[in-house]
Amino acid sequence: MNPKLLLAAILPMVAVSANCQDLVAVKAKKILTITGPTVEDGVVLIQNGRITKVAKAADVEIPWEAKVIDASDKVVMPTWVLAHSEGGMRPSNESMQNVPWLTVRDAIDPASGYFENALRNGVGTVHVMAGNRTLLAGTGMVVRPAGRTVEDMTVAANTGMKLSLLARNGSRLQQIRELRRAIAEIREYLADFERKKAEFAKEQEAGAIPKDKKFEEEIDRKKQAAVDFVEKKLKGWLYVPSYAELDEALRMTQELDLQLVLGPNIDEAKALLSKLKSPVVLDDTLEYFETDEETQKEVLHCTARLCADAGVPFALSLGQGGQTSYPWWQLGTCVRNGIDRKTALEALTVVPARLLGLEEQVGSLAEGKLGNLQILTGDPFAATTWVETVVLEGEVVYQRKDDPRLKYLFDEAAKAAAPADAPAPAPKAPEGEQTGGDNKGSEGSGEGN
C-alpha cells in the first residue's frame, strides 16, 4: 500500500479519537499507584493523554463530558514497563557481528504478535533492542505496543547502543576481546578524525589554508552511533550472559556509560554483584538449576534474589512465550524467592522507567504522567487475574472481550465442545473473580507493600 495513503487514512482517525477522548475517567475499586498510596474506590482522570488526578471517588467530581470507563469492581494500575526486550522484530539478530550503524526502527514489525501479546499482558512501554547474539548490534528505541506504524508507536528513538558478551563459539575470551577491539577501533577512528581536524586548524593558522575554508570532513555515518557511544553521548546496553563475563563488564562500566542486562547463571559472581552501583536489567529467566559437580544435587538459584541479596536494584523482563511472558508469573517468582511485593512491582514499573529516563512519563499513576493504565480482574500477583483493558495515553488500546487470541484459546474450545443442538454459549473466557473462590491466591489483592 502506498505509505502516503496509509498515513492519510490514519490521520483523521487519530484526530477524531483525540477529540472524543479528550477527557477520560477510570473508576476503580482499587488503584495501585506504585509510587503513592493505594486508593480504594478511586478515580483516575486523564486529559489529553496525561493524568490530571488520582483520588478517591468521593473527592472527585467526574466532568459530564468525560468518557467514563467503569472498572469499579476491578484493580487499576500503571501498565508495565520493559527496560529491555528483543521482541517485535523478525529476526532480532543481524548475522554480522559488528553493525553499530543499524537501528531497530528498521526491523520493528508493528503487526508482530509480540506487541499483541504485550498488550494482552498489560505492557505499555517496551524498550526494543537488537538481540543478544550480536556483538555491537546498533541502536534501540522505546515504543508503545499499539499503533500501525513504527512512527505511531515511537516513544523515544535512538535510546542506546546494544552490545553483547554472549559467546558465539563457546569462547568467552574471544567475545570479550572482539568487543574490546571493536571499541578500540572506534576510538582510533575518532582520534584520527580529531587529529585531521587539529591539523586542518593548524594549517589554517599557518596560512596554508584560507581562513574562510571550513573543515568539511564529517564523521562516517556508519560510525556516528558508535562514536556517540564511546564519547558517552549514547548509553550502551550490555548483555552479560553469565558470571564469567561480569568481571569484564564491571571494568567496562568504568570507562563507558553502560547499562548492564544480566543473563541467568550469575550465582558464582555473588561477590561481584555487590560492586554494582546502578540498577541492572534481568533476563526473563529468573530461576535456574545448577548441579553440584560432586554431589550431583541440583540447587535452585534466582537471579532476582541474588541481586536483592547483593543490594542491587533490578528491572524485570518478560519472555516472548511460555510462563515467563506473564507478568504475574515473574512477580510470583520474585515473591516465592523471598522478595517483597513492593520491590517486585517496582521492578516492572518505576525501576525500568528510570532506566529509560522516562520516570516522569510512565511507571506510576500520578498527576502529570502519561495516562497509561491497565485494568485487572484482580491482584496482579494472582494467576487467575486477567488484563481486562489497557489504556495508553487515555486511549483504550486493548479489551479482553475483543481479544482474538483468547477467543481462539478459550471460546472456540467451548464452542467446539458444545452439543450440536444446543445454542453456542456466549463467548467468555474464564472470569478471574469467579475462580477466586476460596482460593487464597487473590487474598490481600494488590497491596504494593
Binding site: 511460555g322 484459546l409 475462580t435 473462590g437 491466591g441
Partner: protein, 428 residues
C-alpha cells in the same frame, strides 16, 4: 515454624499408648512396611493450618495429626491433639495432600523408556528402567509431588507396564504399585522411524509395520484379538498351556483387571481410542488428550477419564508436536463442564511446568480451585487405584502431605516441607 515437644519425657509412653490406640489395620500396615523406623514413633500435630484435604472443602483453621507414617486424624481447631504430640504451628500455611503426577516422564533416561525392537511389548516394565535417585524425583519432591505414575515411552504401539512409585524412600519401599497400567499409543509417534518400501535397507528391523495411523490401530487390534482368543481357549480348556506373558497382560486389560492408558492427542486419535475401548470393552482412559475439547461430549458419554498433559502449554513440544493436535486453554473447562474426570499431569510435553503450576494454570484456565487441586490429588489416586493409600488427607492413609507457604495455586507458593510416609522428603 517451631517444633515444640510438649513433654519430651512423656513422649515414649504416649507413643506406646497410641500404638494401642491405632487400629489393627494400621498396625498391620506399619509392620508390613518395614520402614516404621524409630523416628516415626512420635506423633506430630500440625495446627492452625489452612487444610485442603482433597475432595472436600478447605478447613480454615485445621489440625493434621500424623504418626507411624500414617495420617491419624484431620479436623478443625476443635480436634483433640493427642497428649505428648509434637505440635507444629502452621499459622498462615496451607497443607494439602502430596501431589500425584499421573503421567510423569522423568525418573529414567529417555532412551530406556522405549524398547524399539518391537512395536508391541506389553510385558516390559518401566520399573526396570527407573533410577530412584534421578534428579527428576528430587525436582518433583521440591514441588510437592509425592507419588508419580511412570509409563513406558510413546514410541511403541503397546509400550508396556507403568508403575506407581513414591518420589522418596529406598528403591523397594518407593513402589506403590508395580503393574499399574498398560500404555497404548496412537497417532504419529509409534510409526516414526519405521520404514516403508524404498525407505532404507529391508534387512533393518525398522522395515516393519506400522508406518501409518491405520497400521498403528491394526497393531493394537491384532494384539487384543490374540488376547481375546487366548482367553477363550483357556476358558474352554483349563489344562491348556498358559499364554505368553505379553498376551496374558492383555487379557488382564480385557478382564478389567488392568487399566489401559491410551495416549491420543489429536481429535482423530481420540475418536479411535474411544472406538477401540468400546470394541474390546475396557474402561476408557486417555492420556495427553490435547484435542479433547473436540470430543468432550463423547468422552462424557463414555465416562472416560482424561489425563491432560501440561495445560499451561499453548503448543506441544518435542516429537509429538507433529502429531496434529493443537492445545487450547479452554479444554480443561470444556471437560469439567461436562463432568469428564480430569487428571492434570506434566505428561510428555517438554514445555510442562512443575505439577503444582500446571494445576495453577488449570485453575487460571477455568477449573475451580478445589477441582484444580483434586485433579492432581484425588483424581489421579482414584484412576491409579491407590486412593486407599494416598491422594487425600484422611485417617488411615499414608502421611503424604505438603506444607505450602501460601495457597498452592498462588504463583508465589513454595512447598516449605514435603512429607512422604511421615518422613520429611524435602525441607526448604
Amino acid at each position: 515454624m517451631i517444633r515444640t515437644p510438649n513433654s519430651a519425657a512423656l513422649a515414649a509412653a504416649v507413643t506406646l499408648a497410641l500404638a494401642v490406640a491405632v487400629t489393627a489395620q494400621q498396625n498391620a500396615a506399619a509392620q508390613q512396611d518395614g520402614r516404621a523406623a524409630a523416628g516415626k514413633q512420635t506423633v506430630t500435630a500440625y495446627t492452625h493450618a489452612r487444610i485442603l484435604p482433597g475432595g472436600k472443602p478447605a478447613i480454615a483453621d485445621g489440625v493434621l495429626v500424623v504418626g507411624n507414617g500414617k495420617v491419624l486424624a484431620v479436623g478443625d481447631a476443635t480436634l483433640r491433639i493427642p497428649d505428648g504430640a509434637v505440635v507444629v504451628d502452621c499459622s498462615g500455611k496451607t497443607i494439602t495432600p502430596g501431589l500425584i503426577d499421573a503421567a510423569f516422564a522423568g525418573g529414567a533416561s529417555a532412551n530406556d523408556l522405549n524398547e524399539q525392537s518391537e512395536e508391541v511389548t506389553p510385558a516390559l516394565r518401566v520399573l526396570d528402567s527407573l533410577d530412584p535417585e534421578a534428579p527428576a524425583f528430587a525436582r518433583a519432591r521440591r514441588d510437592g509431588v509425592t507419588t508419580v505414575h511412570v509409563m513406558p515411552g510413546t514410541r511403541n504401539v503397546i509400550g508396556g507396564l507403568g508403575c506407581v512409585v513414591k518420589t522418596a524412600g529406598d528403591p523397594t519401599s518407593m513402589i506403590v504399585k508395580q503393574d499399574a497400567s498398560l500404555r497404548i499409543t496412537l497417532g504419529a509417534e509409534p510409526s516414526m522411524g519405521n520404514r516403508s518400501i524404498g525407505g532404507g535397507p529391508p534387512e533393518s528391523m525398522y522395515y516393519r509395520r506400522p508406518t501409518t495411523r491405520m497400521g498403528v490401530v491394526w497393531e493394537v487390534r491384532r494384539a487384543f484379538y490374540d488376547a481375546k482368543e487366548a482367553l477363550q481357549m483357556t476358558q474352554g480348556a483349563p489344562n491348556a498351556s498358559p499364554p505368553s506373558e505379553g498376551v496374558e497382560i492383555l487379557t488382564r486389560v480385557l478382564q478389567g483387571k488392568l487399566t489401559a492408558v491410551t495416549t491420543a492427542r489429536s481429535e482423530q486419535d481420540l475418536r479411535t481410542a474411544l472406538r477401540i475401548a468400546d470394541e474390546f470393552g475396557y474402561e476408557t482412559v486417555i492420556d495427553e488428550a490435547q484435542d479433547a475439547y473436540l470430543v468432550a461430549d463423547e468422552l462424557a458419554q463414555k465416562k472416560a477419564t482424561v489425563l491432560l498433559g501440561a495445560p499451561s502449554a499453548e503448543q506441544v513440544g518435542g516429537t509429538a508436536g507433529s502429531d496434529g493436535a493443537s492445545p487450547r486453554s479452554g479444554t480443561v473447562r470444556a471437560l469439567a463442564e461436562r463432568s469428564v474426570r480430569v487428571v492434570v499431569t506434566t505428561g510428555t510435553n517438554a514445555l510442562a511446568l512443575p505439577l503444582v503450576r500446571e494445576a495453577m494454570f488449570a485453575n487460571r484456565n477455568g477449573l475451580g480451585p478445589q477441582q484444580a487441586l483434586d485433579a492432581v490429588t484425588v483424581e489421579p489416586a482414584r484412576l491409579l487405584g491407590i486412593d486407599d493409600r494416598t491422594g487425600r488427607l484422611a485417617a488411615g492413609l499414608d502421611a503424604d502431605f505438603v506444607i505450602w507457604s501460601t495457597d498452592p495455586l498462588d504463583p508465589a507458593a513454595v512447598a516449605e516441607s514435603v512429607h512422604i510416609d511421615g518422613n520429611p522428603a524435602f525441607t526448604r
